[in-house]
C-alpha cells in the first residue's frame, strides 16, 4: 500500500458549531460581527510574501478546460462553461499583468479527446478572442485527463530549462476516460519537471489528489463563483521554482518603436510578421527586430525570422515587485495612536479599528491604503521621501 498523509475527512472530526461565530450585541444587531467578518476578509487578501525564495518569472502555462457534459450544469450561472470562460478572460488579463514575459496556451477536452484551442503565445488578445468564440461549443462526452496532459507535454518538453512548466486543469466531471495508465503519466510529468494544479468544480477526486501531490501543484474544489475566482487568481502570482530548474542568461532584443508618418521621406512601409495571414496592408510604424529588422506591431513577441525574444524595458520592470516585495506593515490598535490622527497617504481620518505602520519609516496608514499599497503599488509612499541625496 502506498503511504500517503491522509487528511482527516470532515465527517471524522468533531462537530463544529458554526452558529457560534455570530454574536449579537445588546440591541440585538449583528452589525459589529458583520463588520468584523468583512474586515477579516479584507485582511486575508494581503498574503505574506515568500521572502528570499527564487520565483519562476518566465512561465509556460497550459490551461486545460473541461468541456464535457457536466459543464452544462447550471449551478454556476448561467452554466458552468460560460462562467468558466468569463473567469478565464479575467485570469489571462491578470496573468499577463503580473508575468509579462510568460506564455499561455489553452486546451479543451471533451468526447474522450483533447484539442488545442490556442497555442503557447505571449499576447493576450488572441487568447481572449478564442475564449469568446468558445462559448458556443457543445459540451458532450467525457473528458480525458491523460490525453490533455499528453498534448500539453508535447509542447512543454521542448521549452528551455530555465522556464517554469505548468499545467492548470479545470475539471468539472467526476470521471475521466484514459487510454493508458495515468500513474505512468504522473511519473513522466515528474521527470519533465511539470507542475500540475487542478481546480475541481464538483467534488474531490482521488486521482487528482495524487497527480497534484506528486508533481508539486495544488488541488482545490470550489464552493461558489467567488471562491472560483479567488482560486484562479492564486495562480496568477509566480510560483517558487523547483530546485532542478536551471538559471541561464537569455538573449533578448529591445526594439525601438518607430512612428512613421506619410510626410516622412524615409518612411518605408512594411508588413507586420505577426499578421501575415490577415488581410491588413503594410503599416508605416511598428517595432523592428534589432537582429533581422522584421516588423512587429506589438510586444512581447518571439521573432519568427531569427528567433530572438523581443521585449520592452517596462515589461521587465513589471516583474520587479516580485523580486523586491514590500514588507507587511505592523498592525496595531488605533487607541495607542492618538485618536485624531490622519492617514499619511490619503489624508483621511483614521476611523478603523487598527492602523498600520511601515516598519522602516514609521508612518501610519489606514486599512484601505494598506491594501492598496500591498496589492497595486508595491512601494511605501513615505519611504520614497526619505530616499533623498545626501
Amino acid at each position: 500500500m502506498d503511504e500517503e498523509p491522509e487528511r482527516a475527512k470532515r465527517w471524522e472530526g468533531g462537530y463544529e458549531r458554526t452558529w457560534e461565530v455570530l454574536k449579537e450585541d445588546e440591541s440585538g444587531s449583528l452589525k459589529a460581527t458583520v463588520e468584523e467578518i468583512l474586515y477579516q476578509s479584507k485582511r486575508k487578501r494581503v498574503i505574506e510574501s515568500h521572502g528570499q525564495v527564487r520565483l519562476g518569472m518566465m512561465r509556460h502555462l497550459f490551461v486545460v478546460i473541461d468541456c464535457s457534459r457536466s459543464m452544462e450544469d447550471q449551478d454556476l450561472k448561467p452554466n458552468r462553461l460560460t462562467s468558466t470562460l468569463k473567469l478565464m478572460e479575467a485570469f489571462i488579463d491578470g496573468y499577463f499583468d503580473q508575468n509579462p514575459i510568460s506564455q499561455v496556451g489553452i486546451i479543451t477536452t471533451k468526447n474522450k479527446r483533447a484539442e488545442k484551442l490556442t497555442d503557447l503565445a505571449g499576447n493576450p488578445k488572441k487568447h481572449i478572442a478564442m475564449l469568446k468564440k468558445a462559448v458556443d461549443t457543445v459540451c458532450v462526452g467525457e473528458p480525458s485527463l491523460y490525453n490533455s496532459l499528453k498534448l500539453a507535454i508535447q509542447t512543454l518538453k521542448h521549452m528551455p530549462g530555465h522556464t517554469s512548466r505548468e499545467i492548470l486543469i479545470i475539471l468539472s466531471s467526476l470521471t475521466t476516460c484514459d487510454p493508458a495508465n495515468i500513474y505512468e503519466m504522473t511519473k513522466t510529468l515528474k521527470s519533465l519537471n511539470v507542475r500540475v494544479s487542478i481546480i475541481g468544480l464538483s467534488a474531490e477526486v482521488r486521482v487528482c489528489t495524487v497527480l497534484t501531490r506528486e508533481t508539486g501543484g495544488s488541488y482545490h474544489v470550489i464552493l461558489d463563483e467567488s471562491h472560483f475566482k479567488e482560486l484562479l487568481m492564486l495562480h496568477v502570482k509566480p510560483p517558487p521554482t523547483s530546485s532542478s530548474s536551471e538559471c541561464s542568461l537569455i538573449r533578448m532584443g529591445f526594439p525601438q518603436h518607430t512612428i512613421g508618418s506619410l510626410a516622412d521621406q524615409d518612411a518605408k512601409p512594411a508588413f507586420s510578421m505577426s499578421h501575415l495571414d490577415s488581410s491588413s496592408g503594410p503599416s508605416l510604424g511598428g517595432y523592428f527586430c534589432p537582429q533581422c529588422h522584421s516588423n512587429y506591431t506589438e510586444l512581447p513577441v518571439e521573432c519568427k525570422v531569427c528567433g530572438l525574444t523581443l521585449v520592452s524595458a517596462p515589461h521587465l520592470a513589471r516583474s520587479f515587485h516580485h523580486l523586491f516585495p514590500l514588507d507587511a506593515f505592523i498592525e496595531s490598535p488605533v487607541e495607542e495612536h492618538q485618536r485624531n490622527g490622519f492617514c499619511q497617504a490619503c489624508q483621511g481620518e483614521l476611523k478603523d479599528k487598527s492602523i498600520f505602520t511601515c516598519p522602516s519609516c514609521r508612518s501610519v496608514f489606514c486599512v484601505e491604503c494598506d491594501l492598496f499599497i500591498h496589492d497595486s503599488l508595491h512601494c511605501c509612499p513615505s519611504c520614497i521621501h526619505s530616499q533623498t541625496a545626501s
Binding site: 517596462p314 521587465l316 520587479f320
Partner: protein, 273 residues
Amino acid sequence: MASEDEISLLVIVVDVNPIWWGQQAQREQEFTLSKCLDAVMVMGNSHMAMSRTNKLAVIASHCQDSHFLYPSKSWKAGDDGADDASSSGDGKYELLSVANNLIAEEIRNVMSKTLNGLIHDLCCTEQVIKAAEDCALQYMNFMNVIFAAQKQNILIDACVLDSNSGLLQQACDITGGLYLKIPQQVALAQYLLWVFLPDSEQRSQLVLPPPAHVDYRAACFCHRNLIEIGYVCSVCLSIFCNFSPICTTCETAFKIQLPQMVKPKKKKLKQTT
C-alpha cells in the same frame, strides 16, 4: 459628455524646487513661480467650472516632502477661488474612495530642470536622485507607480518647462496621457487650457500635439548604456550587454552551453598504387 454621476478628479502637482525657481528668476524676469501658480489656478478653476461634480486637488512638491495646497481643512463647498492660497495642511480628502469609482482621472505635472515630481493615487511624490546607487530603486518605484496608475485607469500628463525627462515620457505613454515640452514659458496658461484641460473622451476629437517618440530601450546594469540586444538573467531579470558566467545582482552561476563535440570520422586511407 460625462454622465451626471461621474466625478472627475484633477490633481495638479507643481514642482517648487527653490533652487531652480531662484535661478529662473534671475534668467527671465517675466516668468516666476507666482505667475506659474496663477496659470495653475486658472486651470484649476476652469476644471471646476466645467462640471458641477468635478473635483480638484493641488499639491506642491519639493525635495523632502509634498504638501496638499488644496483642499485644506477649512474648505467649504463652492468656495473655490479663495482657497487656492498656499496653506499646507492635512485635508480630509479620500482620494481612494474616488478612485474606486473607476472614473478616468487626470494628473498633471509641472516639471523643473533638476527634480521631478510625480503624483499617484496616494498623493505622494517621488524624485529622481542623481546619486547612482539610488537610481535603480527610484526607477523601480517610479515604474511601480506608473503600473498602478495604469491599472486604475488614471491618466498621467506631463507639462515640461525646461528639460526633457525620459521617465515622464514613459509614464505618459504607458498610461495614455500627453507629454508636452512648452516652447514659451510665459504662455503656460494657454498650453494648460488648450492641451490638458479636455478629458480623455474629448481628446480624440481635438487636434493635439503629436506624441513624442519614447525610447524604450533598456539600460544595461554594468555600464548604463542603452542597448538593443542584451542578456537577461532568468532569476533576477537584470540586463547585461555581454555574456558573463555569473550574474552580479543575484550571484547565480549560469550554465554555459558548450558546443557539441563531433567525433571525427575515420577517413579511409586511399590506396596509392
